[in-house]
């Protein structure tokens, strides 16, 4: 598991200068030539379209994610366990029944993975389009993508990434 998450962390880059800067410049910018495939993605209230993906291990994908909903959404890639851990953390952060509590999460673009690793993640404001470049890890069968803002995953914002090749 630890290996997987490390692989994921290393595989992550984003084309966004801002996001890269925020995390201490540890990510090299990937040139367009390195991108095998661009997947256009829609994040709505409360769904992703498409709802599942088939990706070849080692493939470098550029996700272009348009938030067509009314609420902020995130796009996080990780295994089911790490996603759940992230979800729990987000729930605790939001607090219960506070003023505007549910929409009130900080826009952290690197989510903490369960074993201290991190998952590729991006937060997208309503009406915005964001990009995420990601190289699919080897030796992993299945991953999930999700929005873990409290209630969003449960309401439908998740999908499976099949990495069987």
């Amino acid at each position: 598991m630890r290996k997987t998450l490390l692989a994921l962390a290393l595989g992550l880059t984003t084309t966004t200068a801002f996001a890269a800067g925020e995390h201490g410049g540890s990510h090299a910018t990937v040139s367009d030539a390195d991108i095998d495939r661009t997947i256009r993605f829609e994040a709505g209230d409360m769904w992703f379209d498409p709802e599942r993906l088939d990706i070849t291990p080692g493939e470098t994908i550029k996700f272009e994610i348009a938030n067509t909903g009314n609420l902020e959404h995130e796009f996080v890639i990780g295994d089911a366990e790490a996603q759940e851990a992230h979800r729990k953390m987000m729930q605790e952060m939001s607090g219960d029944h506070g003023d505007g509590g549910h929409g009130n999460h900080g826009g952290h673009d690197m989510a903490e993975g369960k074993h201290g690793g991190s998952m590729p993640a991006i937060t997208i404001a309503p009406g915005e389009t964001a990009e995420l470049v990601w190289t699919a890890p080897e030796n992993v069968g299945e991953l999930e993508y999700a929005c873990n803002i409290p209630g969003h995953y449960e309401a439908g914002m998740s999908g499976n990434i099949d990495l069987q090749g």
Partner: protein, 601 residues
């Protein structure tokens, strides 16, 4: 490609909404993606009491011999079942619902929560004459909304005999959540007594069904705990109110069998799922008198709609459902195991139960029932400020103090006024309180005296996450963004001992005319509960936008639960010309006179 804006800066709600609206629905087409709501998956048509598919539906109302909870009895049936079948319509249809009365008394059906022409609303003496024995009445109306609703008789006490059922309207466009399977869960309270005799019992003996009254043993226990003076004073106050602190419900499990889809807890109605599926539960409280606290031990629930209207998802462990409310929740059972769907009556005198399982014949443990709660002093809020808890006092702002009804001011305990923090009062500017020049609160602001952050009596907020009204938040603002032009304040009043229930101290039989709304006016309805019980207040024909403090994203509802001593408000756009019913949805309260006519002209 250069700089996609990964969000790092806070956006105002207004900006977010603008952005969302700008992209809107067109973007799905722009991206060349097929909308996935075009898939029929996610819908099931299995319902315990049968399904009638719209737009044309024929319903026959009979009184017949049928078993309820395994015992032969004489309920009212609709197309042979009691409660009635699920009626399924689709947004955009023109519904044609033919109702044939095979009873020996007049009947009616009211489509609860539907916005429709006044003649189709089904309230005898108001919308129409009612349906005479042997007659068929044809309801025709365009279906302009979607979601989870229900239908029931609006004639006498027929609803108590099972004259009710679920009404589901499928959305024309994609809903803001997705699911693999759905189940409709209709909660009702059944009595083997004649409803008329239940009503007589309530009128002649207060607490007739309350076997949980405080006894002399409780008195000595209280004395040990609180001392004699405090206990005696408390008892004295309750006596003065002609109430008992254990009046949680007026009709209880001593006569009621609580049913889920018409089945008793022992019959254990089972809803099926496959592990890993998202299951939508459409929960309807079609009870005559009973509030329920609903939970599924072992599963988290995510509330996605209230009263048929989508809300931003709220993860909860439990929710309280007032009479006539509906909530849609999503659950994701991961394991091939059985879960108990547990709906405990608010007064803890019983429960309805079903099982959520991967196959028939399974059962899970039934959770331990909680003890009946004592009504605390917050219930006295409306009966003089002495009983108000201090946090409420602090939340009161100065401008509203001035706007308060003078009679209430006089009944305020002076000592408590003095104990208020004057410095904080003085320091509050009108602007900070969201006050308008008119002296009214801004649209969407919570009224002082509201308790939207509390689920209510008998709920321990630390035990589990429980839904509260404050959590309900729409996705987008409703179309009418006007500030209210005026405020209409109504007091919920009653006398438990004489079983009199009313608005502003007047029973329906005593009022001279209807409440008047000007056509197309925007007004604020303020409800002040002067009684010590919850009342689910229902307005026909128009939505009530519950001002729960969510600003322009306040949710809209057809039924508002008003807790004892609480003051709540709703914005209404009076766009529906005609005469409409407005009443407490506790059946016997309505029948006792807690009913008014709203005339829009």
């Amino acid at each position: 490609m250069a700089s996609s804006s990964v969000i790092t800066h806070p956006l105002s709600r207004r900006q977010i909404l603008k952005g969302g609206a700008a992209l809107g629905l067109g973007s799905a087409a722009a991206l060349g993606l097929r909308p996935s709501w075009a898939n029929p998956w996610g819908r099931t048509n299995a319902y315990a009491k049968g399904v009638e598919e719209g737009p044309e539906v024929a319903l026959a109302i009979r009184r017949e011999s049928l078993p309820v909870a395994g015992q032969q009895t004489h309920p009212i049936s609709i197309n042979g079942s009691s409660p009635g079948p699920l009626i399924r319509l689709k947004e955009g249809q023109d519904a044609v619902l033919r109702v044939t009365n095979l009873l020996d008394e007049p009947t009616s059906i009211h489509w609860h929560g539907l916005i429709l022409p006044p003649g189709m609303d089904g309230v005898p003496g108001l919308s129409f004459a009612g349906i005479a024995p042997g007659e068929t009445f044809t309801y025709r109306f365009p279906v302009r909304q979607n979601g989870t609703y229900w239908y029931h008789s609006h004639s006498g006490l027929q609803e108590q005999l099972g004259h009710a059922g679920p009404l589901i309207i499928d959305a024309a466009e994609r809903e803001p959540f997705r699911y693999d399977r759905e189940h409709v869960l209709l909660l009702t309270d059944w009595t083997f007594e004649d409803p008329m005799s239940v009503f007589r019992n309530l009128k002649t003996a207060e607490g007739y069904y309350n076997f949980q009254e405080r006894t002399i043993a409780d008195f000595f226990a209280d004395v040990r705990e609180k001392g004699f003076a405090a206990t005696a004073e408390m008892r004295g106050m309750w006596a003065k109110m002609r109430m008992s602190s254990r009046d949680i419900a007026d009709v209880t499990g001593s006569t009621y069998t609580y049913l889920l889809n018409g089945h008793s807890p022992e019959e254990n109605w089972t809803a099926l799922f496959k592990a890993g599926e998202r299951v939508r539960l459409r929960v309807i409280n079609g009870s005559a008198m009973s509030y329920f606290d609903v939970r599924i031990p072992g599963l988290n629930m995510t509330v996605v709609a209230a009263d048929g209207q989508p809300v931003q998802p709220v993860p909860v462990d439990e929710f309280r459902i007032a009479v006539a409310e509906t909530y849609d929740v999503l659950v994701m059972p991961e394991d091939n195991t059985a879960y108990t769907l547990f709906a405990e009556s608010m007064d803890r005198s019983g429960y309805a139960r079903a099982t959520l399982a991967p196959r028939e014949g399974m059962a899970a443990e039934i959770p331990e029932r909680r003890q009946i709660a004592d009504r605390g002093m917050e219930a006295m809020g409306a009966h003089g400020m002495a009983g108000m808890d201090h946090s409420d006092m602090e939340s009161m702002d100065h401008a509203n103090m001035q706007g308060m009804d003078h009679s209430d001011m006089e009944s305020m305990d002076h000592a408590n006024m003095q104990s208020m923090d004057h410095s904080s009062l003085g320091g509050m500017s009108d602007e900070r309180n969201g006050m308008k020049a008119s002296g009214m609160l801004a649209a969407g602001a919570a009224q002082p005296g509201s308790r939207y952050d509390q689920a209510g009596i008998g709920i321990d907020p630390d035990a589990r996450r429980t839904l509260v009204y404050r959590d309900l938040k729409a996705f987008t603002p409703w179309t009418d963004r006007r500030e209210p032009g005026r405020e209409l304040e109504l007091h919920l009043t009653g006398n438990m001992e004489r079983y009199m229930w009313s608005f502003d101290g007047k029973k329906f039989s005593e009022v001279t005319g209807p409440l008047h709304f000007d056509k197309d006016e925007r007004l604020r309805l303020i409800l002040v509960n002067d009684t010590m019980m919850e009342h689910p207040i229902h307005l026909h024909g128009m939505w009530m936008e519950l001002e729960n403090g969510q600003g322009e994203l306040i949710p809209r509802k057809h039924t508002l639960n008003v807790k004892p001593g609480e003051r709540v408000s709703a914005l209404i756009t009076a766009d529906a010309e005609g005469s409409w019913a407005f009443h407490c949805h506790l059946l016997y309260h309505m029948d006792a006179g807690m009913f008014r006519v709203v005339k829009v002209s």
